[in-house]
């Protein structure tokens, strides 16, 4: 559950009504998710221009309800490696996976993820 008040957001940012509606529907259809992976949402909401969707995510972050962290995909399994970093530059060169094998992040995919504060 994302716990986002889309009604309030739509009131305060009426020019972005279509984006909030789309996000609210997406959130309802994904009631089990506890964090947002922006590029996956963008793919699901292909009708929304990425810049507009990104502005909505900016608002979620600016209003302190969400924070952006960076996670790394394991190149072999394409699942997230353990750990999340507040800044892209903080991502280490090597990350141990769940089996304690060190994974080189030099060419890994670093994914921005929005997590709920607190």
């Amino acid at each position: 559950m994302l716990f986002i008040d889309f009604v309030s957001l739509a009131d305060r940012y009426p020019d972005m009504g279509a984006v909030w509606i789309a996000l609210a529907e997406w959130s309802k259809d994904h009631s089990q998710v506890s964090y947002i992976v922006p590029h996956l949402v963008a793919r699901d909401l292909a009708k929304i221009v990425p810049e507009e969707l990104n502005r909505a995510f900016d608002i979620l972050v600016e209003e302190q309800s969400y924070a952006q962290v960076y996670r790394v995909l394991n190149p072999s399994t394409l699942t997230f490696l353990p750990g999340a970093w507040e800044s892209l530059t903080d991502v280490p060169d090597r990350i141990p996976d769940r089996w304690n094998m060190l994974i080189d992040t030099a060419d890994a995919q670093i994914i921005p993820v929005l997590v709920k504060n607190g």
């Binding site: 996956l40 793919r43 997230f80």
Partner: protein, 218 residues
């Protein structure tokens, strides 16, 4: 290489990152991205750097899902971005849609079909007790049913772990450590998805003692 003709600051930053990555050699992708991020943070602040990188990831969403090697991923990521940023707004969305190929992690249904087949085959050849097999069977059904509703990366994680678990169960000499790691992985991922994951957690907790693993209930 043609430069970007875009107006907004975020898009210009995305173009800049894309241009830099286009010339990245093997093993340089992340270094270059970090360098770009540090520069943008110093010049425009962390919020703008975060926002621009997020937009970059959204525009070239395919990069997070390719099953190719790291270098090839980088290449496809760059070409996807380059193609998109030189297009008009009207055609941008279509490109984003097209960037989602059938081999992507996002194709959860296909992924789960493979997982279910593998697990069922392993159950068939396993010499484990019928009770263990029945729980594993329930577990894979639960994972397959919940997967379309959750984050695909978590679905993939659950699928990988249940396959590992079944491989071990089919092995002539199952290793306790692998049981432990895969059951812990399944439990952790299932806990993370909340209520929908509860039945999966229960099956993991039920199976653990039967394969000699101590799994904490919380």
């Amino acid at each position: 290489m043609a430069r970007c003709r875009l107006s907004s600051i975020a898009k210009q930053l995305v173009c800049d990152l894309s241009d830099r990555l286009a010339s990245a050699g093997q093993g340089q992708t992340v270094t270059i991205a970090k360098q770009w991020y540090a520069e943008v943070t110093a010049k425009s602040g962390k919020a703008n750097a975060d926002s621009a990188y997020r937009l970059y990831a959204m525009i070239c969403g395919a990069h997070a899902d390719g099953r190719e090697s790291g270098r090839k991923n980088s290449g496809s990521m760059i070409s996807a971005t380059t193609a998109i940023i030189h297009q008009s707004e009207a055609t941008m969305q279509r490109t984003v849609i097209n960037s989602s190929g059938s081999g992507n992690i996002i194709n959860v249904a296909e992924l789960m079909e493979g997982v279910t087949n593998t697990v069922n085959q392993n159950i068939g050849k396993s010499a484990a007790a019928p009770e263990q097999k029945a729980i594993l069977e329930d577990m894979v059904k639960l994972i397959a049913s919940v997967s379309p509703k959750i984050d695909p990366t978590v679905a993939k994680q659950l699928g990988d772990d249940v396959v590992t678990l079944s491989n071990e169960m089919a092995s002539a000499s199952p290793r306790k450590k692998w049981y432990e790691l895969s059951l812990e992985g399944i439990k952790d991922a299932a806990v993370a998805i909340g209520d929908a994951g509860k039945p999966i957690v229960e099956t993991a907790l039920k199976l653990a003692p039967l394969v000699g693993v101590l799994l904490q209930s919380k």
